[in-house]
Symmetry: C2
Subunit: 416 residues, 2 copies
């Protein structure tokens, strides 16, 4: 279904200050103001207080930076291959050969998430009737992302769909930490390099509908890879997931959402769904409130060769991401025009407050991003709702629909 | 001025489910539901990821727990003094001798912040015309606090004034960390005890007015003390401060606020104001936004015998806390009825969002509190506004009043 949407539609609808010039990426005029920020080319995760997995969170949150060093690479004389960085090699490959099934996974993932971003943006625009604002951002050291946001629409209070692609350098402390989960990183413990080039690309989205009967949804899929000093691929892994956060619980929506994810998982591995469903319940847990953020979905990280080969894992990631639109759009269409009261809107705002709490207090990616100097804060915080509310000691009436939601959040259910 | 307010007025106006019985503290019926939570009697700060100064933040945020083990202590036979905990000793002292200028600082500080809480609540009620909800909370291990909140009033969107008093035990790793700032803690490095009893008491308040022309204000004063194994006082220090956060900047308000703080500081030490003003600008800095939370005020911590003696420091703390009402009430009275537009209200909501970001992402006390199992979350988060908003890439018009505020927040000013 998703594949029938015209992938170039996004380019045609960039009503922002972008100029469209053939292969040149969109460059809204604010780019010069905002995007040439001081985001460091090597993010030095070893110096940050967050766990290293925050790196992936960065991708998740559209913080990381695209590769387009292309303009830097319009060199007069060809460089010797050995002196090229990973980013420069990839730019050369794209220029000379394009991207196909034989290309490095980096280029295939980048191409895939950018295509998917266009398709998802197009599908959500069809639901809302308004267009997304499209901001492509770069940083002077190279890299960047594309952040698409639709705000205060007919159906969506706020919908953000972000892609980021980054090339950087892992310092030795970061490599040592990552080894805990990825043995391939510096296999020879005697000869761990002082630094390693890495690549990360991902798509991240959060949709907050206006109607309190329609659930918020979050999704993120990402790929991470290191380059060996000789230029070959080193360690690699995929991560991601998708979860649903209703203010009013319609069991049928939760069931449909989980069923769709289970189908995708089952087609690739019969163990995936139950493992990733539990992982999701654990990760999206608002500890200080003693409740889950929502009714869950799937979440996973570190899917590497110890789980399954790269090709099959990418196939799973593709199916999972492609299933988003056909899963969520029917749910939003069913809920977007339902009648609701002022009190029900108020309850939604209270739940939005809890969403903000999770994202700002517990989400590792957000914390890491916000503590990274020069990060594009507006891309990280596109996940926050347009409005939220905190009422002191607010508790739903016993046996109300609101109380039932809280009950389910306190004891995650099996939906399929 | 403050001393003329009737300190017993709060007791007379407890419209909550409290029962008032002579000396018995207020006990709203929800206490039995909420307050007997599993907040651990020794908070084990050494196991938390936040810096140990979070302890003080706990007090700041009304998280910590009151001492009232009184009912447990209606013992048939007198206990030998040696076997009593610090909390039990203090209860005995209060029962037998009351609290006066010769009492331990613990009891004097507790008495003082509880009196001040009543006076501040009373003063804010006079401004608003509505009453605060008063919740006294305890935990089954002993200790607790009093949280007073006025929500959706005539003048105040949300005003919270909390007191907490806690007795607990510091494990050895916490003692070792605290030694960095307080040499008196385990002076004999060879004989640092495995644990030390401690006491902490503080008052914390946050007031968010409805009118966008009226500034938000925050205040917190706290006292911390450890007991030596022989029962005598060990290390002690005071901390605190107060800061102003306008959505629309009236220079005269910022000047008046700082002038009042400077007067209080100058009366005790000519160096205090400039040191504490800088400290405030540094602490209340929203790093990821590159701007201060507001126009500042004063902030300090670790005021111990290396700075000035206990008696003089307590006198300073008293004057600083007592100056709150006569400083803030004239400001709120001047602003509360000013006309404003829908756009100005919107800007206030955007600024509220930044306030939420600071409190949830950067404030050490909030982070520590929310990560402490069994904490009274509603008392910690009473600091959040009733409503807040996040607009993607929202930027004020150049040269507007909104833009000038941001400019001042980016480069803190000297106001006096």
């Amino acid at each position: 279904m998703a594949s029938r949407w015209p992938t170039l539609r996004l380019l045609a609808q960039c009503k922002t200050q972008s100029q469209l010039r053939g292969q040149t990426p969109l460059k809204p005029s604010w780019t010069t103001r905002q995007a040439l920020s001081s985001f460091p080319s090597s993010a030095k995760p070893g110096q940050a207080s967050s766990p290293l997995s925050g790196y992936l969170g960065l991708v998740a949150l559209g913080l990381l930076v695209t590769a387009p060093l292309a303009y830097k690479m319009a060199v007069e004389e060809p460089l010797s291959l050995d002196s090229l960085s990973l980013a420069e090699r990839d730019q050369q490959t794209k220029r000379e050969q394009g991207v196909n099934d034989a290309s490095p996974m980096r280029l295939r993932m980048e191409k895939f998430v950018k295509e998917q971003q266009k398709e998802i943006v197009w599908a959500l625009e069809q639901v809302d009737g308004n267009s997304f604002r499209v901001d492509e951002w770069q940083r002077k050291e190279g890299g960047g992302g594309i952040t698409c946001v639709l705000q205060d629409g007919n159906v969506f209070e706020k919908a953000g769909v972000g892609v980021s692609v980054v090339y950087g350098t892992l310092p030795k402390p970061a490599i040592l930490k990552m080894r805990a989960n990825h043995k391939k990183l510096g296999e020879d413990i005697e000869n761990i390099p002082d630094s390693l080039e890495f690549f990360a690309a991902g798509l991240s989205l959060v949709v907050h509908p206006k109607n309190p009967m329609a659930p918020t949804v979050h999704l993120n899929y990402r790929y991470f890879e290191t380059a060996n000093p000789d230029g070959t691929s080193g360690a690699w892994w995929f991560g991601g997931g998708s979860d649903l956060t209703p203010a009013y619980l319609f069991d049928e929506d939760a069931i449909q959402f989980h069923k769709s994810l289970k189908e995708v998982c089952d087609a690739h591995d019969k163990d995936y769904y139950s493992r990733f469903k539990k992982w999701c319940d654990t990760y999206f847990y608002n500890k200080h409130r003693g409740e889950s953020r929502g009714v869950g979905g799937i979440f996973f990280d570190d899917l590497d060769e110890t789980v399954r080969d790269k090709e099959n894992t990418f196939a799973f990631i593709q199916d999972a991401l492609k299933s988003f639109v056909p899963t969520y759009v029917p749910i939003i269409n069913k809920r977007k025009d339902m009648p609701y009261t002022e009190q029900e809107k108020e309850w939604q705002q209270i739940r939005r407050g809890k969403y903000v709490e999770f994202n700002l207090v517990h989400d590792r990616g957000t914390a890491f991003g916000l503590n990274t100097p020069g990060a594009r804060v507006e891309s990280i915080l596109m996940s926050l709702p347009l409005t939220a509310s905190w009422k002191y000691m607010y508790e739903p009436e016993p046996k109300s629909r609101e109380a039932r939601l809280v009950e389910v959040l306190k004891t995650p259910k099996e939906w399929v």
